[in-house]
Symmetry: C2
Subunit: 356 residues, 2 copies
DNA sequence: ATGAAAGCGCTAACAA
DNA sequence: TTGTTAGCGCTTTCAT
């Protein structure tokens, strides 16, 4: 008889087996069961067999929370600043693939707005994950140093010099340079830069990176430098939001301007695809307004999109981030800084301007 | 002095404050602190002030694991069968938005292959989440009934009759019918169906839904029924994998066939976009081979893609799923079944066949 | 209004 | 090789 049977309208919830239940069923001690499930040293063949049979019979699954109280959670946390951005999905996919062969489970703490990065990171810390991989360009380095003092951390897409955590990033400088050289070589002079949303929010510990070492600040800086070197007036527009549609909305007025740009360098591919939405929506093509992006997300290679973009090897970035994190959990304490080489994928979205 | 200072190469990890530290700092009992952080009844204004100051000073954050041992985790789990599918991202985005105004934190258990659904679900159970939302078409209903007996569950995209869990799904039958009627009306007769990967894997508790009540089985059945009613020979091809590129690979041979189909009904939009990749890659357009999909993912409305698709209101599905889950956590025990109405978004990817 | 103390399920140090 | 036991950080009666 279940002693937690329903009383009135209260829902019956069966109690799942605990390690004590397994121990009783197998006629051994809790410690013995614990050793079996952890593959620890000092269990006879007979003991193992009996215990495993009981585990199977009772469908026993150790509670992660109880394990956490005594040690590790075998959980790794991934924080990505925007669910739905395919570059971030790729990193998550790579991490999931790599971890499939390990005892670690990945959990993703999703946020809708990069500004909430610290909240998501804190929630992972509160859950005592064994390690954290984060794409959080806007969180302050000091805060991260503090975080990394509590739990192993690998940051993606940052170029910090921290000694507390590892970084894996694409070569943003080289990538942006290749884009600018490509556009200039095609004959473009009126080149606009489509930047991420940098509007600030009130409150909270996080703040806009003041270092200028986040990917988007670097890409924009390279843009400014190239325009300056050529004596061309820069034109930066900011998307208000992080979705593809937000980028399109920001580009529409650009296209209506009297002397509209002949090329747009978008800070990342979601923005670039949005820019293409505006360009195509206005009945224009690459000869009118070329568009180049960054990340080389899967849709960029689609023949109907054919977006020129900087491939920064997102899958490899995710894979290496996990590898570094596992190393760090394994005991490494010196910081590693990885910069992935980039390749410009030239496609149909960039072409010589019609009037050149 | 930190009594856990580094010894040799061992990394120093600062011990985070516990409820006891806060209690000591404020000169009160642990119970008092607990009451303050839970906003429980019976704390004087003075007590609250003192405790909150100590919490602030020590940067105290309650450990979720310890709370779980005594009650709830204030964590909800979302399982999605494929990271990188924009329909699933939309559901995750909706869930994140709704939960932002609640004390619950969402964690996503990502998988790469729908067949691993039960592993991800089990991992959420092991973490004692307070509720689960899952998009898991292939997990058996019995297993889910069992799961739902342990934790509140809302399933997305299932049309089960279970009394143990709620379901939220689009109207797959109506959606598929609208697609078929649209294609037939345009004059198509050689219509192919591009199905999801149904190859089986060995082992594990999950198995292919034998009920035929999962969305893709329904969409395919409707396709068969319409083709049969018109006396047309059905042609079903299966993608080997779940990525857009896998769909393109499956479609390429179709296009090379002597009497190729004039239209392709893809089981979901990622497959449809892949089909468009193959069609455009072969230098064909909608007059040669029309393509229609299901889900109306954001890229479908992009003018360069312009994919005809069934809008099943993914965002609303995610929102309602969370709402139902919170209701269930709040005590509701009777099962709710929601079917979201669908709308066919007719766009440029479907057109009358050239030779009609 | 406040505090003392039991106990959630597990691991690890130690004893047998 | 196996079992006993302390204790992780919190919530929750139950006294005071």
């Amino acid at each position: 008889m279940d002693d937690r049977s329903s009383h009135g309208a209260v829902l019956t919830r069966r109690r799942a087996a605990t390690i004590q239940d397994v121990a009783d069923a197998a006629g051994v001690s809790r410690a013995a069961v614990s050793k079996v499930i952890r593959n620890a040293y000092g269990v006879s063949e007979q003991m193992r067999t009996r215990v495993e049979a009981a585990i199977e019979r009772l469908d026993y699954h150790p509670r992660v929370a109880a394990r956490v109280m005594r040690g590790s959670s075998f959980t790794l946390g991934l924080e990505i600043p925007q669910i739905g951005n395919d570059f971030h999905s790729t990193i998550a996919a790579a991490a999931t693939d790599v971890l499939a062969a390990t005892p670690y489970q990945l959990v993703i703490a999703p946020i809708r707005d990069p500004q909430q990065g610290d909240r998501a990171l804190q929630s992972l810390v509160d859950r005592q994950v064994d390690g954290i991989i984060a794409v959080a360009p806007l969180v302050s380095g000091d805060w991260l140093d503090d975080l990394a003092g509590r739990v192993p951390v690998v940051m993606v897409g940052r170029h910090d010099e921290s000694t507390e955590y590892d970084t894996v990033a694409g070569d943003d400088e080289a990538g942006a340079e290749q884009v600018m050289e490509h556009l200039v070589e095609l004959g473009h002079r009126r080149i606009a830069f489509l930047d991420v949303d940098r509007s600030r929010r009130a409150g909270g510990k996080p703040f806009i990176s003041p270092t200028g070492r986040d990917p988007h600040s670097i890409r924009r800086r390279v843009y400014y430098e190239h325009m300056g070197a050529l004596g061309l007036p820069p034109l930066v527009v900011e998307a208000h939001g992080h979705m593809e549609e937000d980028a399109a909305a920001a580009v529409v007025p650009l296209l209506a301007a009297p002397s509209r740009p002949t090329a747009i360098f978008a800070g990342h591919d979601m923005l670039a695809v949005g820019a293409l939405r505006a360009v195509a929506g206005a009945g224009l093509d690459a000869r009118d307004v070329s568009v180049a992006g960054f990340d080389d997300i899967p849709i960029a290679s689609h023949p109907l999109i054919s977006l020129t973009s900087v491939d920064q090897q997102g899958y490899a970035i995710g894979r290496e981030a996990v590898r570094l994190l596992l190393e760090r959990i394994g005991g490494r304490t010196d910081a590693v800084r990885m910069v992935m080489p980039v390749t410009l994928r030239v496609r149909g979205s960039t072409a010589p301007p019609r009037d050149s």
